[in-house]
Symmetry: C2
Subunit: 331 residues, 2 copies
Amino acid sequence: MGGDFGPRITVPACLEALALHPELHIYLIGQSSLIDPLLANSNVSLKRLTVIDCQDFVSMDDKPSYALRHRQNSSMAKALQMVNEGAVSACVSAGNTGALMALSRKTLGMLPGVDRPAIISAVPTSEGCCYLLDLGANVDCSAEHLLQFALMGSGMVKAVEGIERPRVALLNIGTETYKGNEQVRLAAERLKVQPQLNYIGFIEADSVFDHCADVIVCDGFTGNIALKSSEGLARFIAAKLRINFSQNIYRRMLGWLARPVLKELQQQIDPGRRNGAAFLGLQGIVIKSHGGANQDHFVCAISQAVQDIHTDVPGRIRDTIASQLGQLSRE
Amino acid sequence: MGGDFGPRITVPACLEALALHPELHIYLIGQSSLIDPLLANSNVSLKRLTVIDCQDFVSMDDKPSYALRHRQNSSMAKALQMVNEGAVSACVSAGNTGALMALSRKTLGMLPGVDRPAIISAVPTSEGCCYLLDLGANVDCSAEHLLQFALMGSGMVKAVEGIERPRVALLNIGTETYKGNEQVRLAAERLKVQPQLNYIGFIEADSVFDHCADVIVCDGFTGNIALKSSEGLARFIAAKLRINFSQNIYRRMLGWLARPVLKELQQQIDPGRRNGAAFLGLQGIVIKSHGGANQDHFVCAISQAVQDIHTDVPGRIRDTIASQLGQLSRE
């Protein structure tokens, strides 16, 4: 029910995802009066799609505290309860991020040794991608929280990218050890003595896209600013390119000829192509789609959930954290 | 002496700036053995250029505290002393940012009512530019500091852009009043009751380029991350465009035809075009050029100094702060 477009985007995306992943079964939870008409002309076998009618839903304006108190019967809460009961393997939502985070935490609970969930997403780089966390779940973070994010991010990247020792960096405003705020400097001290981590030091925000790290750790305020700044600039550049290529007939023709090249660029920088941010640290898989996602983007979010199920991301994170806790108890 | 390239960039840039600004007189402070050969073949009248030999200089690795103790006879310190004595109207440097900030603060002193200097720079937007501060001088900021930054930024934009009531926004991870960390929320309470400010609320980082504010205020950690993330993405996109337009002969030809259009884009997003970040809150004008600036970029930094001298940026900031302090004392 969530996101800027609701079922008219999410339902067709589910049908596409079912065609893409033969082993997938999707439960659509929401107002069936809105969902059913969108399924009427579908040619995907409906044996793998179950609609669960649920009238209440979390609105985009609900504060997390309000959702916790008053939205326990919403489609979002119901989906998370199904993850908790083991009826489904993951929950995907384009809805209210704060409410999804609060309800996820309450319904699923945290993995042992993790204080707070973090939001992680892939960012394109010159040679593939890297993973950035936290992207907004925690505005203030201690060094201990940043350490937990590093362990979780490393565990996830091991699982989904198959990298044995992912390079972990801390996002900072300089690479010298004395740069940055106290939390970042303290976190650096903690990270560099963890044998579970391949910590490579501080990284500046302009190097995020240079593929010099696999996991980049920061507090949620910083991560959100980094991600959104680059999204804003990408939009700005796309708009400038459109204007520059339409100033006269010659340029318009040139733009038409160059369309495949420019389209390629658009795909390379489109954040939607990597849509589907995972909530790490929970006892279950929850994937948050961008609210403004189109159909293709929402399919990406579902595919991310499928991948996280296959590679058992929560299990890998549990192992990474447990190995660090084990080491602590031995010390 | 500073920056990645030293005199071989800064000296030719000075000659270009002298040709551009007929009223300008430049004092070049540094090792004359490096400077003089670069002036040998110049056709600019050397009546408007004075070389002051100074052997010591601040290295890019000097910590601010080290520079304060051991670099009082450096070219950087000497230039700031000349600003303080009124021998020159502004100091421009491509050197070590932390050292320049520490030496500026000690040599020039702060304007009354300002606790800390802030770094401000223009950022391109869809309809011109906006100004972002702080860009890295202060990693931790209280609400009071953010308020002072807002007043200083507003004073500067009034002066250099001629906007009577610049729109001031706080950079945050959401536009709702309950979003963000404590400092940002407290700052919002302070800003909205200032009659000197045209405060318009929170702004998200992806809207920075949309021209919805003239002054965007944040702590130095956040500002640095926002600016460098977008610089990194701009570089990433430029590299992708180069690759996409060189994959085969047809595309190479297309790229050659589209060169003027792409060059236009490069100029539109080139942060160097707006090179020259001002240190606000000091009793004098100090302009910091990007360390990696090329000759054109360094000319921009000198032009920024010329503009700040003509519009008396420190005076305008003093007035804005004094009017707020006056209001406080009346309350």
